[in-house]
Symmetry: C2
Subunit: 427 residues, 2 copies
Amino acid sequence: MRTYINPDKNVWSDILKRPLFDVSELYGKVQTILTEIRKNGDTALREFTEKFDGIKLDSIVVSEKEITDAEKQVSADLKEAIALAAKNIEVFHASQQSKINKIETVPGVSCWQKAVAIEKVGLYIPGGTAPLFSTVLMLAIPAQIAGCKQIVLCSPPDKTGKIHPAILYAAKVAGVTQIYKLGGVQAIGAMAYGTETVPQTYKIFGPGNQYVMAAKQLVSMNDVSIDMPAGPSEVLVVANETSNTAFVASDLLSQAEHGADSQVVLVANNSATIESVQAEIATQLATLPRKEMAEKALSNSVFIVIEDTKEQIDLINEYAPEHLILSTKNYSDISEKITNAGSVFLGELTPESAGDYASGTNHTLPTNGWARSYSGVNLDSFIKKITFQEITKQGLLTIGPAIEKMATAEELVAHKNAVTLRLKEIQ
Amino acid sequence: MRTYINPDKNVWSDILKRPLFDVSELYGKVQTILTEIRKNGDTALREFTEKFDGIKLDSIVVSEKEITDAEKQVSADLKEAIALAAKNIEVFHASQQSKINKIETVPGVSCWQKAVAIEKVGLYIPGGTAPLFSTVLMLAIPAQIAGCKQIVLCSPPDKTGKIHPAILYAAKVAGVTQIYKLGGVQAIGAMAYGTETVPQTYKIFGPGNQYVMAAKQLVSMNDVSIDMPAGPSEVLVVANETSNTAFVASDLLSQAEHGADSQVVLVANNSATIESVQAEIATQLATLPRKEMAEKALSNSVFIVIEDTKEQIDLINEYAPEHLILSTKNYSDISEKITNAGSVFLGELTPESAGDYASGTNHTLPTNGWARSYSGVNLDSFIKKITFQEITKQGLLTIGPAIEKMATAEELVAHKNAVTLRLKEIQ
C-alpha cells in the first residue's frame, strides 16, 4: 500500500502507472498455433486440446444431453439468481435499441442509418475452478437482443472433458446457439477462421489469459473484429467523511481478489478516511479465501488524499478507471464531470458487485486507460450501422453542382461525371 | 473484366476474392520508426520528415498565417461547395446524437449510458497531388459535433513545405484545433505517443498508404484506438432492365479511378444489361484523365448475371461491399434485406459520388469485408458511452441476494461480502 497526500499533478501519471500489459512477446508462439489451426482445422484443434488441456476428446461439440445434464446439476437457488440477473441484463440492453432516424439533409436528399446485427459472434469464456457464468450472460444476452443469428461459445474442457454446468446452463438461458470445448488460442483460432466443426465468426468477445489476448490481437488484424483490448481489472473508489469505510474496504477487496495484478485505488479528501478504510481492509481481509491473491494486489494499491474536488475529478479523468465507485453522499459533485471511465457506481449502496452480476449493466469494460476511447460492451457491440441514402431529382439538382466542383478539385473526374451525366438527363 | 452467368453459390467466394491486404511484412520497418518517435519525439519527426518527405522544416506547426493565406487561395466557387457539403455532413451527423435513457431494471436499480466525446482525436489526411479535403470534412465535422476538445490533423508537407490550401481551408471550416505538417508513419507515431510539439491523442482516424495502415495497426495494440482496419475501396452495383446503363457505367468508373486495386463488381439479372454497361464503360473511359489507373482496376472487375433476386441478396451479403449501389427502379426488393454493407445508395439518381462528398453521409467506410462487423465512421466513432448505476435500499434488497449467490458460485467471496455488509446495515 502506498499513500500520497495532495501529490502534485505532474506526478499523478507516475503514481497511477499501470503494469505494462504487452503481450507482443507471445505473438510468435501464438501465431504458430493460429497458423496450424487455419491450415489443419479440426485436426489441429484436437492436437492442441490434447497438448494444452491434457484431454483427448472424441468430440469438441457440447451435446444437447450434456446441456440437459448440466441443467440438473445447477441448484434451484443459483438458477433463480441467474434468472434475476438475466432479466435485468435483458431489460438494460434492450433499452439501448435505437430507432431508424431518417432525415433530409436538404429537400430530396434522405439519409439514415440502420442498425443490423452482426450475423455470427464468438464468445470466449475462460476455464479454471471458478466458472465465469456471469460473463456468459453479459455477452450472450445482448447478442441475442441484437439479433445475432449464430452465437458461438467456446470454453476449455476440464480434465474429464467437461465444461462447468453453470456455464452450460447460463449459455442455454442466454440463447447461445453452439458450444464447443475449446480453450485458449485454439478457441480464438477456431472462431476466427472456422474449421470443419466450428463456424467462422465475425467478432470475438470475452476475457482470457495473455495467450488468449495475444491471439485476439493477432486475428483482429486481418480476419475478425474483437470487443476491445484487455488488461488487468481496476477500481478507483472515491470516499470522504460521509463514507461508510467498511463498505469502501469491501469494494477495494472485491477488486483485489481478482488477481495479483488488479489495480486498486482510493481517493479521499482527508487522511482519517484513508486510515479508517485501511483498518477495515485488514479486518475483512483476514477471512477471505483468496486472501493471498488479494494481499498481493493490495501491496500495489494506491491511497491518495486530494482535498480539492476539482482536482479529484481531474485525476479520475486522467486515470480513466474501468470501475469508478463514488461512495459518498454528495457523489453528484463528481459524477456529472466524469469524462473517462468504464462504469460508474453512485453512492454507498451501489457496489461494483452489483454491476458485475445483477443490476443489468455490462461487466465487460475497458481497462488499462482504454476508457478514454472505448465503451464497455453494450448493445452497439453486437451491431453495425449501415448507412442508406436516396436522392430525388430535386435533391440532385441541389447538391449535384457542389459534388462536381469538389470532385474536380480532388481530380476525380469520373466521380464528377457520375453526377454530370445524371444532371444532363434531368435538367 | 470477368463475366459469370449464374455462377454456383460455392464459387462466389472465389469469384469475389479480394486481393490480400496484409501489411504485416512492413511491421518491422514501421516499428523501428515508431520506436524512434516514441524515444526522440520532435527530433525524430524532423529527421524522418527530411528523409521521407525530402524537406527540412523549421516548424511542423501550421501557423495562423498559413491558414489565412490558404483561405485566399481557395476559389469562391469551391468554398461555396465545401459550405454546402459541410452543412449536410453536420445535419446528418448531428441527427445521430442520442439522449440519455435512464431506466430502472427493477425498482430502485437505475442504469443508464452517457455519451461522452473522446477528448483528443487525431486525423490523418494523405498528401499527393489531389488534396483529400473532403476527408477532412468527413472526420472533423463529426468530431466537432461529438464535442472532442482537441481535433489534431496531420498531413504531409509538399516539397516546398506546404499543405494544400484546400485541406487547410476545410480544416478551418470543420473546427480542427491543431494542424501539423507530418506524413506517413511520423504522423501516426506523433499522434499516438505525443511529442514536445504534437499532443498525444486517444483515437486516430483516416486513410493512408500501406505504411500508414501498418503504423495504425501497430499503435492500436497498446496505445491508441483507430477507426477501423483498411483495404482498397470497393463498389458493388446492382442493375437490371430498368437501369440507365450509362449511369451504372459512370458509377463503376468512379470506383475504378481510385486506384489499380479498386474492387469493381456489377450484378445484373440479365446479360444484355451487362453488355450495355460494358459498352458504356468503353465510351466513358476514353476521356478520363485517370484512364490508365481505371483500366487496371477494370481488368480485375467482375460482372455477374444472377437472375434470382434472393440469390442476388445472398451474394451481396456474403461479399459485404463497402459501397452498394442499387441502380434499379425496384431497389426496395433488395435494400430491405441487406445485412452486410458499408453504405447503400438507392435508385438511379443516387450515385456514390453524392455520399463521397455532399449528401451528408460519411465516406469513411469498412472495406475488405469488414462491413460484416464494422460501421462506417459516424458520430459514435467520436464518443464512448459511460455506464452509470445508482441503487437504493429497496433496489439492493431486491437484487442483493442474487448477487451473493452468483458471487459465491464464482468463488469470489469479497464480491459477495460487499453486498452482505450492506444488506446487514439496511435490513
